[in-house]
Symmetry: C2
Subunit: 297 residues, 2 copies
Amino acid sequence: MNESTEAMRVALVQHAMGPVPEQNLATSLDAIAEAADHGAQLVILPELHVTEYFCKAQDPALFDLAEPLNGPTCSALAECARECRVVVVGSIFEHRAPGLAHNTAIVLDRDGQMAGYYRKMHIPDDPGYYEKYYFTPGDQGFEPIDTSLGRLGVLVCWDQWFPEAARLMALAGAELLIYPTAIAYDPNDPADEQSRQLDAWQIIQRAHAVANGIPVAACNRVGHEPDRTSGQYPAEFWGHSFVCGPQGELLAEASDGAEILYAEIDRSRSERIRRVWPYLRDRRTDAYQGLLSRYRD
Amino acid sequence: MNESTEAMRVALVQHAMGPVPEQNLATSLDAIAEAADHGAQLVILPELHVTEYFCKAQDPALFDLAEPLNGPTCSALAECARECRVVVVGSIFEHRAPGLAHNTAIVLDRDGQMAGYYRKMHIPDDPGYYEKYYFTPGDQGFEPIDTSLGRLGVLVCWDQWFPEAARLMALAGAELLIYPTAIAYDPNDPADEQSRQLDAWQIIQRAHAVANGIPVAACNRVGHEPDRTSGQYPAEFWGHSFVCGPQGELLAEASDGAEILYAEIDRSRSERIRRVWPYLRDRRTDAYQGLLSRYRD
């Protein structure tokens, strides 16, 4: 990374969102300022932090929530990043063109400039999470974003389940994987199933760190959000945001309540770890063609 | 899988190996019989279970340890599989042709027939693990093996660190991933580093279960093996063999001592889990071309 020091302090804003977007944005801005006051150099917000999670029903009116890439959320975050001298990873419902919207992460550098953006590539769709209705899959691939804190591999939520996405970011030089996310328990699931899902969610992301020898930061929402349309799909966002190092070792983990989670990342560890565990050296790129297939039948 | 029942009982033979190959093979055969007596239908042995781990030095004389695919180890395991009516996953140092050797997993069906074999594709090489000297990388790709217990995704040791290998097996219909392995602490590492390595080893393999919605079984060696050449590279094989289900949930985990580990795999869970977590549906096969590159620079 580009800083003279090898340590980087990151903050994950694990907050709950309510029905008023302006209030949610104000909460995000306050948290960025607080994190900066506590020495954070990089502040990560959860997925779609300006709104409640609105994909519980397919409603064309909800596209009114979308805003342009350089819209009001971006402007507010940029101004805040500049004032606080921190790099900010935010998340917006992006209106790209009439009838064309994305789930987009935006990265504002500490001078307030947009360092880059990433349009969510893998889009989920299941009862209460109708994302394929709202979000056109990203068409720009898996490209990390250069910032004053180094090259950030920013992905979004459902991407976290795909080792391919993490690997492609690492192969393009990402020094840290970042996942703004919105993942919740189904309140109808029994406790043991909820526990398996939370564990699986941490394991798969910690494994991206292991496989690629780079740290991972995942920032989730918390709180109960009712289903304001049918009442069918209330969600309990499970929190447990975390940061792990390049061996998948947990550096910090949040509870299931609202908090700002801090962690210190030692940037020099990736080089050391990759020398001992040189997976990039040994990948069988000659034998991976089948990864481009839907199924090998 | 092909059985009428949905439950499968697997046994992992987590044993130590000594300097006499005949004794090691006898130990393996006894363990298969014991596991069968305890109801196992599938018995998995560790990597290179007929010998001590010999890659501690580069010595041309050690190629004498290699044997043909259908050599004495294969014959003995086949006979044992037939007598015990179990499927056996073994591991040999394969002499394929003069000057051409592989690290090969062999699968014997319960009728004693060879169901198939897999030649280790990813080959490690670091101080005390000079595998690139001994083992030519496999040239047959990632092909699962059909048995009377279903389609087995057999991989070997270093493969376990590569999500690509697990994915390719799953895409070819593997119903269970199997890793015979030989992984050890470096006795010179401090306890916290040893702990991170063990955790990383379990996390990455449990994540293959998560990413692909199939169970995983990893069978390691145990015991102290001295370095009989230079004395430089003694190894403490860390055991902790385990079986996890398709959400990465641990079903059984061994200690660091010699034991036969048993687990019940519910074959019907993969279909159920994949319906709820449909990653195969959402893979961006149009955007994965970079996975065929060494590095994206």
